[in-house]
Amino acid sequence: MKIRIALAQCNTKLGDVSTNLEKHLSLIGEAKRKQADLVIFPELSLTGYALQDLAVTAALRPHQEDPVFKELLLASQDIDLMVGFVHEDRRHRFFIASAYLSQGKILHIHNKVYLPTYGMFDEGRFFAHGNSARAFNTRFGRVGMLICEDFWHASLPYLLWLNGADILLFSSASPGRGLNENPRLSSSQWVEHTNRAYAGLFTTFVAHTNRVGYEDGLNFWGGSTIFDPDGDLVIRVPDFTPALAVAEIDLNELQRTRTRLPLLRDERITMVQKELERIISENDRPDH
């Protein structure tokens, strides 16, 4: 089975959901014209990233009656969507979230688990952290979604892999940093190396959309990629350039790669569980 994935490497207007929704609908239209089956938008694509106190006013309730989701669900009738937004739950906690929409339904919402709150980042001040990482079924098979700092922790892609995800969908609003003699920023190189490693180690597809544009002094470097289960690059969108790039992946490659390299078959989950339990109990000792 072959599917066509569109990476919507776009800019956003900070805190202006209706303008960003218009941009989404226009890019979705372009993706349809390019015969894409799925469009992946960046982290917080409906709101912008450095929201601070704007998080509250930009937040959405993801359901059929919400005017923004209503439009997106309508658009998802014949193309699947992954969008980024601020998720306000019933008890008024605010999460950085991704929603997967397909055929007029919300199939899954992932709330960002790891909120970077160090150095230049201050997410933990404004957002609640998610508490789960679950794979889910789509018409293209089982997938898993993670958001930026989530995939700087190896445990979450690992859990999604064990939970059956054959396509990992990553989104980010990653500020570029680390200018040196190289033609790419060190942050761009680091993320790309990591994504390639996940694809190879988990013999799975890894599709990543990172945004472009600027907020205050921060630049977002784009450079969205798809890696295949061999760890080979399928597509890389140019850095710093807004684009809707479409690439085809062949899901049959999963069988070929995993036959050659049965890392999933050989993974010893119960041993991992046993050792994790031991490590956790040892860490809990007062003298640790």
Partner: protein, 273 residues
């Protein structure tokens, strides 16, 4: 090894994008800056011209009566090279009444008066030209506090504020800044014969390496001694950084209410754009 080499093409891509984005998102397409004939304003000028087109950039030369002719000539060379708009407004008549009013006037005070007068001229022209004032401060001078608060430090955006002086020079070469500007001893041009390195007491080449370790690489002062820096030099640089930190932050607001600007009223500058 301490390597301050930058990829100048990558820096140009990011910084021209930054200039264009930060101006356009608030409804501006033009910028202006004070062009001294020195390296920093040259780099800001070349970046601005590349980002916005030379017709949208106004270079304002603001000499004082002691400003050396060769720096004015260098500024004119760059204006001609890029085809940017230009204006010369001599500040002597504006600042001399204040400078001459006090018998105990010092070089430092006079230099600050000149820097602040240039700021007034630029901000006045920004309304006439309908453009935003482009900053020209580099990371070295910001960290050392080698600037006049509300003077040359005043600007709408700072494109080269995260590049050390030695990195600004690499970018300047890439952008095509004339050799005579590249080779000139850095000077704030506040009095005749002044050079930055003479006044600071160390070279940019030395201090940039130390700042890179202390700031970018988070070395402790004692780690820098191990790397071969003199303790007295480290202490001097740390002292300048600490004493001048007030120039890098907004003045503190005394908190009284439940929600106070800067503490718990937090919005990005690019709010809604």
């Amino acid at each position: 090894m301490i390597d301050l080499t930058i990829n100048p093409q990558l820096a140009e891509t990011i910084l021209t994008g930054f200039i264009e984005s930060e101006l356009n998102r608030v409804g501006f397409s033009k910028t202006l800056l004070g062009l001294s004939g020195g390296l920093d304003s040259a780099v800001s000028l070349y970046l601005s011209a590349k980002a916005l087109g030379p017709e949208n950039v106004l270079a304002v030369c603001m000499p004082y009566k002691t400003s050396p002719q060769n720096t004015l000539d260098d500024a004119q060379t760059m204006i001609d090279d890029l085809g940017v708009q230009s204006l010369t407004i001599e500040i002597t008549d504006m600042v001399d009444p204040l400078i001459n009013r006090f018998e105990d006037m010092t070089k430092l005070r006079a230099g600050n008066i000149m820097a602040r007068m240039r700021m007034i001229v630029l901000y006045d022209q920004s309304v006439a030209f309908n453009g935003l004032v482009m900053g020209t401060s580099n990371k070295t001078e910001m960290l050392l506090g080698y600037s006049t608060v509300f003077g040359d430090a005043a600007a709408a955006l700072q494109p080269i504020g995260d590049l050390y002086k030695t990195q600004v020079r690499q970018l300047a070469r890439h952008l095509g800044v004339p050799d005579k500007v590249l080779e000139k001893a850095p000077s704030a041009d506040l009095w005749d014969g002044q050079t930055d390195e003479g006044e600071l007491g160390f070279t940019y080449a030395e201090v940039d390496k130390l700042l890179y370790l202390l700031v970018d690489q988070r070395y402790r002062p004692e780690d820098c001694v191990e790397e071969g820096f003199e303790k007295a030099f480290i202490d001097k640089v740390m002292g300048l950084m600490r004493r001048n930190h007030f120039k890098r932050v907004m003045p503190p607001i005394a908190k009284l209410s439940q929600r106070t600007i800067g503490y718990d009223f937090l919005y990005p500058r690019d709010w809604g754009t």
